[in-house]
C-alpha cells in the first residue's frame, strides 16, 4: 500500500485549471500503474474528519499532533517492496513536497 502524506498549505488557493491539471496528473500516474496490471484500488480521503481517542474523546479534524496529513492511498500488486517503490515513482504528491510511504499489506487468513 502506498500512503500519500503531505503538509497542507492553507494559504494556497488553486484555480480550476490547476485542479484539472492535478487530476490529470493523478489519473495518468494511476493509469500507468493500471496499464501494467498492478492496480488494485485507490481512494482519496476527504478533507473533514474526526479523531476518536481513548475514553471516548472525540476531536475535530484528521490531524494528529503533526502537521502532515494523509491525502489518500493506493494498493498495488508487486512482488516486493523494491518493485512497489518503483511504481511509486512519478507520484504527483512528490511534486508539492509530500512523500509516499510504501508498506506491504499483511495477509491475515490462510
Amino acid at each position: 500500500m502506498m500512503i500519500f502524506r503531505h503538509i497542507p498549505n492553507p494559504d494556497i488557493e488553486r484555480t480550476p485549471e490547476q485542479i484539472q491539471a492535478s487530476i490529470k496528473q493523478w489519473q495518468d500516474w494511476m493509469g500507468g500503474i493500471a496499464a501494467q496490471g498492478k492496480f488494485v484500488s485507490a481512494n482519496q480521503l476527504g478533507f473533514e474528519g474526526k479523531t476518536l481517542k481513548p475514553n471516548k474523546v472525540v476531536t475535530d479534524g484528521p490531524y494528529a499532533e503533526i502537521k502532515e496529513i494523509i491525502g489518500g492511498y493506493l494498493i498495488v500488486k508487486a512482488n516486493n517492496l523494491e518493485e512497489a517503490l518503483g511504481l511509486a515513482e512519478g507520484c504527483p504528491v512528490l511534486a508539492f513536497g509530500g512523500h509516499v510511504e510504501v508498506r506491504d499489506i499483511m495477509v491475515l487468513d490462510h
Binding site: Q27, D28, G31, A34, A35, G37, F39, A42
Partner: protein, 412 residues
C-alpha cells in the same frame, strides 16, 4: 424468398422462440426435448412444403405443428407423462389439449428467461456462448464450429455437457429476483459481449456469419432493454458500444476479408444510422450513478466514431482508458491507453509508458512500439515491426505489418 432459403431463415428466426415457449412449459431440464420437437417440426415443414407448397402463414403453420407434435409426444411417452405431466397439467389447469401461448408477449418473456437460464455462471463460459448460439439464435452446429474455428464434434460435446449441466442445476424459468438481478445481468452481458467479439474479431473468413454474430448479440441485448426489469443503464451502455463498433463493420473489412485499420477506413462506409442509435443508448446509459466498464468503452467508442477531429479527443480517450484499466485490466486496453497517451502527452512519454508494459510476447505490443518509434528512431521502429511480424499469427496481420515496414523503407 425462394423455398430453399426460407426454411433455414425461418429456423434462425423461429426455432429459438418455439424452444423457449416449450421449455417454459416443460422446464429447463427438458430443453433437449423442446429442441427435438422443433427439429421434427422443421423436418415436417421441409417435406410438406416441398410437396404441398408454402402455407399462407408459414410461422403460424410452424407453431401449430409444434403444438401437435408436443401433444402427440405427451400422449405417447408414458414415462414423461408420469414425471412431467403433473407439472404440465398443473400449469394447464386440467385442459385436455395442451395450451401454448404464441403471443408476442409470451414469446419475448420466454426468450428472456431462457437467456438468463443459459447465461448462468455455473455453466462453463464457452458452453454458455455455444448454448446461446444454438438455442437463443438458432445457429447450426456447423456454423457454430465455423465461428469458433473448431470441429462439429467439439461443439456437439460442449453443448451436450452444457445441457446436462442445465438439467442438474434444475433452474426455474424465471427472471432473477431483484437482489440478484444486477449480478445475473452482468453475466448475461458478459456472454453477449463475448458473442459480439466472436463476430467482430474472429479469424474466420466467413464474413456474413461474423456479421450475424454481431447482430444477434445486439438483438438479444435489445430484448433486455425492452423489458422494464432488465432495462438498466449499463445494459444500454453495452448496446451503445456494440452499435458504435457495428457502425464501422463495412469499412473495417475489405472484400477479401482483410482488416482495414481505423486511419485507413473509408468514413463514408460508416453507418450513420447505427452511430445515431449508439449515441441514443449512450445517453440512456448515463442515467443513474454507476459507471461500468461498458460505459467507459462506449464513451471511448463515441470519440472514435466522430468523423471530425476534436483537438482534445485523445485526452478524453486517455482519461477514459485510465479509468477503464483501474476497473478491469486487459492487455488490449493497456496498449490502446498507451497509444492515446502518446497522442495526448507526446510520443516520448508514450514510449516511456509503453516500455513499462513489457508485453514482449504480444505482436500488438511490438506493433505499438514500432508505431511510436517510427517518428523518433527508425531502426528501433523497424526491429519492433519485424518482431511483430514474426509473432503475428494470421496472414492478414502479417500483411498489415509488412505494409508498415514498407512505409519505413521509403523514409530511410
Amino acid at each position: 424468398m425462394p423455398n430453399k432459403e426460407l426454411i433455414p431463415h425461418l429456423f434462425r428466426t423461429e426455432s429459438s422462440k418455439i424452444i423457449a415457449v416449450l421449455t417454459k412449459v416443460f422446464g429447463l431440464a427438458h430443453v433437449a426435448l423442446a429442441e427435438d420437437i422443433v427439429s421434427d417440426t422443421f423436418l415436417t415443414a421441409t417435406e410438406k412444403w416441398a410437396s404441398e407448397g408454402l402455407p399462407d402463414n408459414p410461422t403460424a403453420w410452424l407453431y401449430a405443428v409444434a403444438k401437435n407434435k408436443t401433444r402427440d409426444f405427451l400422449r405417447r411417452d408414458q414415462h414423461f407423462s408420469h414425471t412431467i405431466a403433473p407439472t404440465v397439467k398443473a400449469q394447464q389447469s386440467e385442459m385436455e389439449e395442451i395450451q401454448l401461448d404464441w403471443s408476442e408477449k409470451n414469446i419475448t418473456d420466454s426468450q428472456l428467461k431462457m437467456m438468463f437460464a443459459i447465461c448462468h455462471p455455473d455453466i462453463p463460459e464457452e458452453a454458455q456462448v455455444g448454448l446461446a448460439l444454438r438455442i437463443l439464435c438458432g445457429f447450426g452446429i456447423e456454423e457454430i464450429a465455423l465461428a469458433f474455428l473448431t470441429s462439429k464434434a467439439v461443439i456437439n460435446k460442449r453443448l451436450y455437457r452444457a445441457k446436462e449441466k442445465l438439467r442438474s442445476l434444475a433452474l426455474p424459468m424465471e427472471l432473477p429476483s431483484p437482489p440478484e438481478m444486477d449480478k445475473r445481468l452482468e453475466n448475461v452481458l458478459r456472454i453477449l459481449y463475448l458473442l459480439f467479439n466472436e463476430g467482430y474479431y474472429s479469424q474466420t473468413k466467413h464474413l456474413p456469419l461474423r456479421k450475424e454474430l454481431c447482430l444477434e448479440a445486439m438483438r438479444l441485448n435489445y430484448l433486455l432493454i425492452e423489458h422494464e426489469r432488465t432495462n438498466k443503464p449499463f445494459v444500454n451502455a453495452l448496446l451503445s458500444l456494440m452499435c458504435f463498433h457495428a457502425s464501422r463493420f463495412e469499412a473495417r473489412m475489405s472484400k477479401v476479408g482483410e482488416i482495414i485499420l481505423y486511419d485507413d477506413q473509408d468514413r463514408s462506409l460508416w453507418d450513420d444510422d447505427l452511430i445515431a442509435k449508439a449515441n441514443h443508448f449512450l445517453i440512456e446509459s448515463a442515467k443513474g450513478d454507476v459507471i461500468t466498464k461498458y460505459h467507459l468503452e462506449a464513451s471511448i467508442a463515441y470519440w472514435h466514431a466522430t468523423k471530425q477531429q476534436a483537438t482534445d479527443k485523445w485526452e478524453h480517450i486517455l482519461q477514459l482508458y485510465n479509468r477503464l484499466l483501474q476497473i478491469e485490466y486487459s492487455p488490449i486496453a493497456a496498449l490502446n491507453r498507451t497509444y492515446a497517451l502518446a497522442q495526448a502527452n507526446g510520443v516520448k512519454k508514450g514510449i516511456q509508458a509503453a516500455e513499462k508494459l513489457a508485453l514482449v510476447e504480444a505482436y500488438s505490443y511490438h506493433l505499438l512500439l514500432g508505431n511510436l518509434y517510427s517518428s523518433v528512431a527508425i531502426d528501433k521502429a523497424k526491429s519492433h515491426y519485424r518482431l511483430a511480424q514474426q509473432l503475428a499469427k494470421s496472414e492478414a496481420e502479417k500483411k498489415t505489418i509488412a505494409e508498415y515496414l514498407r512505409r519505413m523503407e521509403t523514409i530511410d
